[in-house]
Symmetry: C2
Subunit: 372 residues, 2 copies
């Protein structure tokens, strides 16, 4: 696994149970996945990555940022790489993503490729006076995304494009009037088998995932079917291998539109570690190893995951364990081994049960014990 | 954790999720828990153990075999040791165990301490012509246990005692007419909190645990209450810290008697990793760290665990994954990273669900794929 963050860390338990040896190329010493880090180095460096990959059976990723030339060098060296460069190219560039999804006929917000402020102002004028502008690369957790009413509000992004000299462009999208956000996860093996979890509802605060309810309330039937159908078409159309998360808008007029894609285990699927028969980390391992995939049903009627964002102002998450664990005996705490810092995802809590109100309450209250 | 077997291995995922750093003193290189092994050495060697324990917050165990003098050396060095030497002394010697349980007024089979063949023949004559003889130390998985009709059948055990010169004795017990075997697990913190899982039914084949059904069918009410009460009294009476498993006989005349004790995570509790809100490995960590204990309810109505004993005659467990995982998508496989060998516990499979017949079928069939 390339990348030593919390997604790599949470792969370790799944690997231990399956009896799969996991090795991590971490960006630095002491990262979340340090226990399995057999190498430390720069994932953008071809030789570092090739050396790391030499003795493994399959290469997979904690993030989507490994450059295409490095991915292709791995393929040229005969390594199995999942997901492959072709799929990752779509996750790496939001303009490419919108183009490919549109080609596949999938429902997406109205969008455009804009190279100038004038083009952007035209798009805004045609879409009710506002729009969402995104940088094609490098955005995550709300970064590189801005809601604007005029092109001048992203003037510095255009300036950066001009300096870049690569004839770059920004992605602009209609501001979708959505009822809520959903996420649909599927796993796909190289040999084609694909399985879907129930669609979940995600709650974002300031562009960062705060909470996930699984399954999404009132989703059974049409919404669930639409979401699953979209994610399966994305996975098959882009030949994604491993985990795929499709972030979706459920619009006020009842449509389901694709917002973003992630080709790895994803925050929207953390609930599955505790709440589903097969968790996303185990499933990712099974998928990239081309092993048969596991059942994706819920172990209990409801699961709610709440992120621990930032964490205690003083001390570490573990300092709050006596209070948290005593007050919330059904809460499952996942600690990423990261130092608290405002806005940083340092852990999450999942609660499962029969009564959604109670489950939501317990999960939020448990996570709140870790907040300042 | 002292000891690098599968129990230490299965502690690793729980430690990763809780954000607890786990270090293992393994008996050899390449053991099940090698990923967390920071030292390799002999747990009977005082200096080896003291050096390993120097920088940890708490010492706990994969087995009960660390000698009392080493345990006391740890205590003298100021280490927190859970379970402590006093509790472990009872688990280390079956005669001591029977004496202490009898003192505590707990229901046990009729038993006796026999130093000579004549004493044993007398016990047999008084108990219907047969009895179970056990060596006080060193038995496990059916070793050191023999059903006899005359003392001559354990003549070599008496001979060994005589050579030993320690005035040793054998434990003899009535041959209990039992309907089935049960196991009751509890966890207890140093500060006193104690929680119990549902009582489970265990199936032994040739003295080795083969299968566990959780909860034990038809146990709700009297049997469950008796089992829990016994285990709580054992844990409190012996001041056990961490996990305690009490193996029980449910007799044909409706009594519940204590068979054996284990003061560590135990095979009878492996189902809880998948089937309960809090698994025994996480709970053991919480208990020995004196953190509040987790909820012990079942996530699904039934869970069945089947051991993988021996494993494939050729190859490894993973070679059977394509067949096993494809046929049993709800099965959770736990691979201990050990080479197959006749009779060796190299993994287990757990299936959970609503329909006990289906769950039993799936778990047995899944485990059978790994058999020769």
């Amino acid at each position: 696994m390339i990348g030593g963050g919390q997604l790599a860390r949470m792969m370790i338990p799944a690997a231990v149970e399956l009896g799969v040896e996991i090795r991590v190329l971490a960006e630095a010493e002491g990262m979340s996945a340090a226990l399995a880090a057999t190498a430390v180095g720069d994932y953008r460096d071809r030789d570092t990555v090739l050396a790391f990959a030499r003795d493994v059976d399959v290469v997979t990723f904690d993030h989507e940022h490994v450059p295409q030339e490095v991915l292709h060098a791995l393929i040229d060296a005969g390594e199995a790489v999942h997901p492959g460069p072709g799929a990752l190219a779509v996750a790496q560039d939001k303009l490419v993503m919108r183009e490919r999804l549109s080609e596949l006929g999938l429902p997406v917000p109205d969008w455009g490729r804009v190279e100038t402020a004038a083009e952007l102002d035209d798009f805004i004028a045609e879409h009710g006076g506002s729009a969402v502008v995104k940088t094609a690369r490098g955005g995550y957790d709300g970064k590189g995304v801005r809601v604007v009413r005029r092109a001048a509000e992203v003037a510095e992004w255009f300036a950066t494009l001009a300096e870049d000299g690569n004839a770059g462009a920004l992605l602009v999208e209609e501001l979708v009037d959505f009822r809520r956000e959903l996420a649909q996860q599927v796993a796909r093996r190289p040999s084609g088998e694909i399985v879907a979890w129930p669609v979940v509802e995600t709650v974002q605060v300031d562009g960062i995932c705060s909470e996930v309810i699984a399954p999404a309330p009132h989703s059974a039937g049409r919404v669930a079917d639409l979401a699953e159908d979209i994610a399966v078409r994305v996975a098959e159309g882009l030949e994604v291998t491993g985990m795929l998360a499709v972030e979706l808008f459920e619009t006020v007029d009842g449509r389901v539109l694709v917002n973003e894609l992630a080709m790895r285990p994803h925050n929207s699927g953390h609930w599955s570690m505790d709440g589903a028969t097969t968790g996303q980390f185990e499933q990712h391992l099974r998928a990239v190893l081309d092993l048969p995939l596991g059942a994706t049903g819920c172990r209990e009627p409801w699961s709610v995951m709440v992120n621990v964002l930032g964490g205690p102002a003083e001390g570490e998450m573990v300092d709050r364990y006596p209070e948290m664990l005593a007050s919330h005996p059904t809460a499952k705490v996942h600690n990423y081994g990261k130092s608290p810092r405002p806005g940083r995802k340092i852990g999450h809590v999942t609660v499962s049960g029969d009564d959604l109100d109670e489950v939501v309450y317990q999960a939020r209250a448990a996570a709140a014990v870790f907040a300042d």
